[in-house]
C-alpha cells in the first residue's frame, strides 16, 4: 500500500511543467508518466544525437543512453527506466544506474510497499530475477511468470529447469517446468507451471500446475493439492491463515476451491480472478453464471446484473463491505458497484478506487478523446487532455488530480465537497 500521509494535501492547484515547452526542446518525447504523489511528470526523450534520457519536470537526467524505455514511477515516487549502454541493459533509478548489467533486462515491478524493485534478466543465455539490483545466484534456460512478495524481500518465477531438444514432446511431458523462489528451484517438476503468488508474509508460494495432458492443480511450496482438475486459474492466498483459493474446472463446471476442497457450491460457466477482502473473510470473483453473460460473484452469489461483453477484476473497499469492478456492455465501459452500474458509459474506464471509508468510488474515464474524473457515477470538474487515476487523501475528504490541460501539467488537490 502506498503511504500517502506525507504528501502535500493542502488545497491547491499548481502547474509543475510546461508540456509544450518540453516537447519543443527535444527531437522526440515519448509517453509521459507522473509520480503517485503528483509532484513529478517525466518522459523518455530523444536528443539531437539520437541518444535517450529522461526529462523530469523541467530537468533531465545527466546521463544519456543508447536506449531508454519503460519509464515508470515506483509507489514511493522513484523514477525508474530500463536503459542500454554499450549494448548492455540495466535499470536506472532517479538517474543513477545499477552496477549490474545484463544482456537484456525487462518487466520491472515494484513491491506493494514500494520499497523493492525487481526485473527479469538474461545473462550468458540464462534467465533470472534481479531484486534491487542483485541477480539470482542461479540462472535458468527459460523464465516466464514472476512475482514479488508483498514486503518486497522475495521473488518467485516459473522457470524451465532442463533443456529440451527441438520438438522433444516426450521430454516436455516428463516435466520441464517448476517454480524458483529467490533463485532456488522447487524439487518438483511439472508439465507446466504458471502464475506464482506469494502469501502475505512471503513464506509460501502457490502456482497453477499441469500434471498430465488435461490434469491441473495448484502447488504450494512445490506440493500439489491432492485433488486434480480439468483446468485451474489464479491461485491466491487467503490473508491470515495461509490457505489458497483458486478457480477450478470439474467436468464442464467451474467453481472455487480452497486447499483442494470445494468452497463455492454454485456451478459457473466460467470463473476467474478470485480476490479476497482485506480481512480475508469475503471472496469476489469474475463469473459467468450462463454462457455469454458475465458479472461479479461475491461469496458465491452473482450480482443480478449480467453483462455481455466483459467484466474485469473485482476491487474490495478497504473495510471489505463493498465491491466494484469495470464492466463492459455494447462496447461501452462503465463501473458497477455492488451490482449497480453507473448511469453513464464511456469509451474507456480505469480501475475503480474506493475512499478509505469505502463510501466513495472514483475512476478515470475517457469519452471522445477527453478524460474526466468520475465520482460515484458523476463527472467532476472539466475534461482534460490527459489524466492519471485520481487518489484519495488518507482521510478521504480530498482527492488528488494529476492532469494535462492547455499544454501544462497540473497537480490539484480538491476537496470532495
Amino acid at each position: 500500500m502506498i503511504n500517502t500521509k506525507n504528501w502535500d494535501w493542502g488545497i491547491q492547484n499548481k502547474v509543475l511543467a510546461d508540456i509544450a515547452e518540453i516537447k519543443s526542446r527535444y527531437q522526440d518525447v515519448h509517453e509521459f508518466v507522473v509520480s503517485p504523489d503528483g509532484e513529478k511528470i517525466a518522459a523518455p526523450v530523444v536528443l539531437e544525437d539520437d541518444t535517450f534520457t529522461a526529462c523530469v519536470n523541467n530537468d533531465q537526467w545527466p546521463d544519456t543512453f543508447e536506449k531508454l524505455w519503460y519509464l515508470r514511477f515506483s509507489p514511493g515516487n522513484k523514477l525508474t527506466a530500463l536503459v542500454m549502454s554499450d549494448d548492455e541493459w540495466t535499470l536506472a533509478v532517479d538517474g543513477r544506474v545499477y552496477e549490474e548489467n545484463y544482456e537484456y533486462a525487462w518487466d520491472v515491478r515494484f513491491s506493494e510497499n514500494g520499497e523493492s524493485i525487481s526485473m527479469l534478466y538474461k545473462r550468458d543465455n540464462l534467465y533470472g530475477v534481479a531484486l534491487n539490483g542483485k541477480p539470482w545466484a542461479n540462472g535458468f534456460v527459460a523464465i516466464r511468470d514472476y512475482c514479488l512478495s508483498p514486503d518486497g524481500k522475495r521473488t518467485a518465477a516459473t522457470v524451465q529447469v532442463k533443456t529440451l531438444d527441438e520438438a522433444d514432446v516426450f521430454g516436455f511431458f516428463a516435466g520441464a517446468w517448476s517454480v524458483a523462489v529467490d533463485g532456488k528451484v522447487w524439487p518438483e517438476k511439472f508439465i507446466n507451471a504458471w502464475k506464482p503468488a506469494f502469501s502475505k508474509d512471503g513464506s509460501l508460494v502457490a502456482a497453477e500446475i499441469r500434471t498430465d495432458i488435461c490434469e491441473y492443480s495448484v502447488a504450494v511450496n512445490g506440493k500439489s493439492w491432492e485433488k486434480k482438475y480439468g483446468s485451474v486459474w489464479d491461485p491466491v492466498f487467503r490473508p491470515g491463515n495461509g490457505s489458497v483459493i483458486a478457480a477450478v474446472k470439474e467436468g464442464s463446471n467451474w467453481f472455487l476451491a480452497e486447499n483442494g476442497s470445494r468452497i463455492w457450491g454454485r456451478n459457473y460457466n466460467q470463473i476467474w480472478l478470485p480476490k479476497l477482502s482485506p480481512d480475508g473473510k469475503r471472496i469476489a470473483a469474475v463469473a459467468s453464471p450462463e454462457f455469454g453473460k458475465w458479472t461479479i460473484a461475491v461469496d458465491d452469489r452473482p450480482w443480478a446484473k449480467l453483462f455481455d461483453d466483459m467484466v474485469l477484476a473485482p476491487v474490495f473497499s478497504p473495510d471489505g463491505k463493498r465491491v466494484a469492478a469495470i464492466v463492459k456492455e455494447n462496447n461501452h465501459w462503465s463501473i458497477a458497484v455492488d451490482g449497480k452500474t453507473w448511469p453513464e458509459s464511456y469509451d474507456m474506464i480505469w480501475d475503480p478506487v474506493f475512499s478509505p471509508c469505502g463510501k466513495n468510488v472514483v475512476a478515470k474515464a475517457e469519452k471522445n478523446g477527453r478524460y474526466a474524473v468520475v465520482l460515484n457515477g458523476k463527472n467532476i470538474g472539466t475534461n482534460y487532455d490527459a489524466l492519471w487515476p485520481p487518489i484519495f487523501s488518507p482521510d478521504g475528504d480530498k482527492i488528488l488530480l494529476r492532469y494535462i490541460a492547455d499544454g501544462k501539467y497540473y497537480r490539484e488537490v480538491r476537496p470532495l465537497n
Binding site: D28, H30, E31, K67, W69, Y70, E103, Y104, W106, D107, L120, K122, Y127, A142, I143, R144, D145, Q160, E166, A167, D168, V169, F170, F172, F173, A176, W177, I191, N192, W194, R210, I213, C214, Y216, G230, S231, G251, S252, N269, Q270, W272, S288, F291, G292, W294, D308, D309, M310, L312, K328, N331, D347, M348, W350, E366
Partner: protein
Amino acid sequence: MKLIDSPESKVVDPGLDETIKKLTPEKIKRVVDHVLTKENAGRLQMYIDTCVHCGLCAEACHTYLSRDKDPNFSPVAKVKNTLWELVKQKGDVSPEFIRQAARIAFTECGACRRCSMYCPFGIDIAYLIMIVRRICSLLGVVPQYLQDTTNSHAATSNQMWVHQDEWIDTLQWQEEEAGFEIPGVRIPLEKEGADVMYSVIAPEPKILAQLLGNMAMIMKVAGIDWTMPATDGWDNSNMAMYSGDFEIMGRVERLHWETAARLKVKKIVMGECGHAFRGAVYDGPKWLGWKFPPIPMVHAIEFYYDLIKSGRIKIKEKYKEPVTIQDPCNTVRGRGLGDKLRYVVNELCEDFTDVSPNQEHNYCCMAGGGTINCGPPWKKSRMISNRVKAEQLAATGAKIVITPCHNCHSGIEDIIGYYNLGMHVKFINEILVETMERPE
C-alpha cells in the same frame, strides 16, 4: 475394422508411433466416451442423424480432387474412417485405429470447411474432424511437430518458443530499421490507453521480423494511435485449437484478451493470419464463455481496407507485377472478407487476375488447420494433396500470390516449390509499404 493401407499410413511420426504404445483399451474407451457424451453430445448427434451419406462433400475437397478422386480422401470417408467407427464401436477400438484416426484428422484435413458448403444440410464436417482431434489429443496421440507447437503455447503463450526478451528486442530492432525508412517511426510498447493493440503470430518475431517494421511504417503513415505489449499475450495464434487441446487454447486466448484490457485499448488489430482470427474471434472466446470477442478485433485485411478507403493511406504508384490471391478460409469463407481483400489488392496492384474458383469457394492452401504444423514427415503428403491448388494458381499467369495468412503463405510457398510454378508469395503488408505515399 479394416485399417487403410496407403503410403501415408507408413509415414514415421513419433507423435503417433510411440504414443499409441502407451494406450490401453480402457483408456481409449474412457476418453472416447467422455468426448462423445460429455463434450459433444447434442450437436454431434444432430449431425449423425442428419447426414444421408450422399457423398456430395467429396467434390469440395482439394485432397480428394488432387488424388484423382480417391474415395478415401473424400470428407465423408474421413469421417467414416474415424469418428463413425468410434461412435459405432463406442470407443472399443485398437491403438492402431487411433493412429489411423489421428493421421486422417490431423494431416489429411485442413479444417477449411469448404465441404460444409457442398453438404446439402450444411453439416460442419470439419467440426466432426475436430472431435477426432480432441479425442487423439486427450490420448496424447498428436503429430510430433504439432504437439510441440501446442507445448510452446502452453509454456510460453506463443507458438514458437519465443523468449520474452527476444520479443521485445525484436520490436526495438524493427523500430530502428523502420526508422531508417521513415524518420520518427515507433513501435510504442506498453502504451496504456492507445486506440489499437496490434497483435501478431510468433513467426513474425521469429523469422519474418520485417513484417513488424512494415506495420510500424503503415501505422505511422496512417497516424494510428497504437501499441504492442511487452509481455506475454502478444501472440494471437493458437495451434492448441487445432491439436485439440482446448484447455491450452483457452489459456492462450484469455491472456490475449486480458492483455488488451490491461492496455486499455479500444480494439485489437491483428496481422495477416487466418487461423489466429478463428481462434481469437470464434473458438477461443466460446470456450472461455464469451459469445463474441470481448473487445473488437479487426483483421489486417479489414484494417488495410479502411485505411485505403478512408484515404488515411494513399497509393503513390501501383505494384506492377501480375498478382493473384489466396483466400484464407478463416477470414474469407469464415468472415466474408473476400470483397475487401480484392478491393485492397486492386488498389495496390496494377495487374490482378483472380483465381477460379475464388472467394469462399477457393481451394484450401492445405497448410492451415494445423496441417503444416505437423511438420516435415507429412510435407510430401500435403503436396500431393493439393495438386489442384498448383493447377489453379498456374492458370492465372500471375508471378506473385498474395496471401494474407501465415499458414497460406507457407503452404503456397511449398506448393510453388514442389510443382515448380516459378511464382513468389507476398503478404499485403509487403506490397503496401512499397506502394504507399510516404511523408516528405
